[in-house]
């Protein structure tokens, strides 16, 4: 990996130097501000409108800049960096096509509340609005998918705007913030004085909950016979996994975590029921439907979790804890709303939390159900089963890796069969379901965690959406282990067409895919292929031993389906169990 700050100046010295007021260009202001915000890694792609910025980066070493091969690669990498570290991810692109290439990645981050600062160049101010060469109204285009955005009109505003952008991105409900900088603004000079304070009128996220509401929750727990916790990504984003653990232990309430919440609670714990929803566990889904108290902690009642809304958790009193008041009551009517930062809420709740005394029968029932209905599949000795591969990945890494995924069947199998115990070990596009996310996000996750093993699990379809980023793994020696579960089709689409569209397979055949081993090697990345269990174990061991990046293609059974499955429009306890039993 690239080592940062090769020169030996200490961080503090550097900061002190950067804080000195000086007349510099907008571009230099940007770079200095990024360093002062604690940024150590930026993903980007240059072009006309950001030439001053890239010029200022010539010979610059106070943070790493990774030149991706596509802007989509840059923003997903920044996203993976943010999800795996909790820090703000940063990417830079030029105006027009560079900026519009970021749109998918911005929407991905927005849907999953990932803090990003996205910097785009724009044409010079006087050309804005004239359909100038490479002009796009990127602030307009991205308005629905950013938490906030700025079009910088004056270099004087730049230090404040950058500082605000970082603040907005990483406080309250997190999300992507866009800063669009016209070329002249990046060239103009002004006296730079670092901004260290923010005051944004009207922006005051509620951190501390209303005490009375917390009291109501404690009372409801004491009364409940079938209480259940539904925890989501919010737990991880607020760094509340320890508080959650304490809360669960004190109350002894069974818990299910959403796709984005995986890792927020140890998967091996007796009280853990697995994930709920479309491809969730039998027990998690049944328990939601039977619960008399459902405590939602930092999840947003996404339709992939709730299934048919009108039949969701029909017997439960609903408690909803969320930093974003707009989530409360948006999809599911709430009996006890608690607005606040999950960590703060749980800290307060933990002071009073008591064991849910009336729930013993319920706990026993769920424990038995869990034992009876684990995720399962029919293994085969002739063909590689994707679930088996994921189990192998789990076993050979003791569940310690950071796993990123793309979108499709492999994503669900990874969620089902790789067991997560630690927060920020699971990076996946939940809300938008973005194919092409898996591999570049792993690059970001690895940059943020140089010493951890990062595995990226992809389908043969999605891998082809950002495969070009193999180049940056090779060049920067980013030792990501890329797994491709190759079923030769757009698997998840095939599954729907089989089960819901009567076997009418329409445009899912991925014949013509490259030889992934050769493709990797063409980029200078080690490639492996396995078609049976023996090979699978052998090549995976070898890939793990290999010190650099590696791509391992597992040729798996084409017709395999993800079970259980809740068809769209059904309630979540109407599960198709398939051949999994």
């Amino acid at each position: 990996m690239v080592t940062q700050n090769a020169t030996l100046k200490s961080k503090e010295e550097l900061m002190e130097k950067l804080r000195q007021p000086e007349v510099i260009t907008g571009s230099e202001i940007l770079l200095r501000s990024l360093v002062l915000e604690g940024v150590d890694c930026v993903f980007g792609y240059p072009g006309g409108a950001v030439l001053y910025i890239y010029d200022a980066m010539h010979g610059f070493s106070d943070f790493n800049h990774v030149l991706t091969r596509h802007e989509q690669g840059a923003i997903h990498a920044a996203d993976g960096y943010a999800r795996a570290s909790g820090k703000v991810g940063v990417c830079i692109a030029t105006s027009g096509p560079g900026a519009t290439n970021l749109v998918t990645g911005i929407a991905t981050a927005y849907m999953d509340s990932v803090p990003l600062v996205v910097i785009t160049g724009n044409v010079i101010s006087s050309l804005i609005g004239t359909d100038a060469f490479q002009e796009a109204d990127i602030t307009g285009i991205t308005m629905p998918i950013t938490k906030h955005s700025y079009l910088v009109r004056d270099v004087e505003d730049l230090p404040r705007i950058i500082h605000e952008a970082f603040h907005i991105a990483n406080t309250g409900r997190k999300g992507p913030v866009l800063i669009d900088i016209p070329k002249d603004v990046s060239a103009n000079k002004t006296l730079f004085k670092p901004v260290t304070e923010v005051s944004i009128r009207g922006y005051n996220p509620t951190v501390s909950p209303n005490k009375l509401q917390v009291d109501k929750m404690i009372k409801a727990i004491a009364e409940a016979e079938r209480p259940l916790i539904l925890a989501g990504g919010g737990v991880i984003y607020s760094g509340a996994h320890e508080e959650l653990h304490e809360f669960v232990k004190k109350t002894d309430i069974p818990i299910t975590t959403t796709l984005l919440g995986l890792g927020a609670f140890p998967s091996g714990d007796d009280l853990f029921l697995g994930m709920p929803g479309m491809h969730g566990t039998y027990t998690a889904n049944k328990s939601i439907q039977k619960a008399d108290l459902l405590i939602n902690i930092g999840a947003r009642f996404d339709d992939r979790v709730t299934g048919k809304l009108s039949g969701f958790a029909p017997h439960a009193k609903i408690i909803h804890i969320d930093i974003d008041p707009a989530e409360i009551g948006k999809n599911v009517p709430t009996d006890i709303p608690i607005v606040g930062d999950v960590k703060t809420v749980l800290q307060i709740a933990n002071l009073q939390a008591k064991r849910a005394e009336k729930a013993d029968a319920w706990r026993a029932e769920l424990l038995a159900s869990k034992a009876q209905y684990p995720f399962s599949y029919k293994d085969s000795e002739d063909e590689l089963k994707p679930q088996w591969v994921v189990e192998m990945l789990h076993e050979t890494t003791n569940g310690d890796a950071i796993v990123t995924t793309d979108v499709g069947q492999h994503q669900m199998w990874a969620a089902q069969f790789y067991k997560f115990n630690k927060p920020r070990s699971w990076v996946t596009s939940g809300g938008l379901g973005t194919m092409g996310f898996g591999f570049p996000s792993a690059i970001g996750a690895q940059m943020a965690n140089p010493d951890r093993l990062v595995i990226s699990i992809n389908g043969d379809g999605g891998m082809q959406m950002c495969a070009q980023e193999l180049a940056i793994c090779a060049i920067n020696n980013i030792p990501v282990k890329v797994v491709i579960l190759n079923n030769q089709v757009l698997g998840m689409v095939r599954q729907w067409q089989e089960l819901i569209y009567d076997n009418r397979y329409s445009h899912i055949d991925l014949s013509g895919s490259p030889d992934f081993v050769k493709l990797s090697e063409a980029y200078g990345v080690k490639g492996f292929r396995a078609t049976n269990k023996e090979e699978a174990k052998a090549v995976w061991e070898e890939a793990l031993r290999h010190p650099g990046p590696a791509v391992v293609e597992f040729v798996v059974r084409k017709e395999e389906n993800v079970y259980p499955m809740v068809a769209q429009g059904s309630t979540i306890d109407e599960m198709i169990m398939g051949d999994a039993e």
């Binding site: 602030t139 307009g140 308005m143 629905p144 938490k147 906030h148 955005s149 079009l151 907005i168 409900r173 944004i200 009128r201 009207g202 922006y203 974003d324 008041p325 707009a326 409360i328 009551g329 948006k330």
Partner: protein, 161 residues
């Protein structure tokens, strides 16, 4: 469906109208009318939006608006007594013979004739939405050539803020 009038106090930033109206469109909220202008404080604009929906929709509208960084305050005006006004300019076909009748209508509504052409007159009327609707209905038989309404602007009555 119930009609609601809300005031949204926003930072007077470029694009803020787009942010607010875009939010309504994207989330499927209805905008019956929207007016924007300066407020009592420099740097802040006041938007008045008339929308329809049940109480839950209104609550979501309010919460979603508050998510916009440039939104400072959302006031549900129509939950209290309000003064709500709209202005309309109506150009009516009016041959000289028909004019006395039209002027009669104008007078009863305490509206005003603000321009007279050879074949038309322009009427200006200020009032709540119902009054303007009524005025339009009455002028229709003469032939409305052009019509322009401002949308509602409103404040709460009395000392309440």
């Amino acid at each position: 469906m119930i009609k609601h009038t809300i005031a949204v106090i926003v930072n007077d930033q470029p694009g803020v109208l787009q942010r607010v109206s875009g939010l309504f469109g994207r989330r499927g909220f209805n905008i019956e009318s929207i007016t924007v202008g300066t407020s009592e404080e420099v740097g802040l604009s006041r938007m008045v939006i008339v929308t329809t929906g049940d109480e839950q929709t209104l609550e979501q509208i309010t919460k979603q608006l508050y998510k916009l960084i440039d939104v400072i305050k959302v006031i549900h005006l129509s939950s209290n007594p309000i003064v709500a006004r709209e202005l309309a300019l109506i150009k009516v076909s009016a041959e000289p013979a028909a004019r006395p009748e039209i002027f009669g209508v104008v007078e009863t509504f305490r509206a005003a004739v603000v321009d007279i052409g050879t074949h038309s007159v322009m009427v200006q009327v200020v009032g709540d939405t119902e009054k303007i609707d009524a005025m339009v209905e009455l002028l229709k038989p003469y032939g409305i050539r052009e019509l322009s309404r401002t949308g509602v602007t409103a404040l709460n009555r009395g000392n309440s803020r």
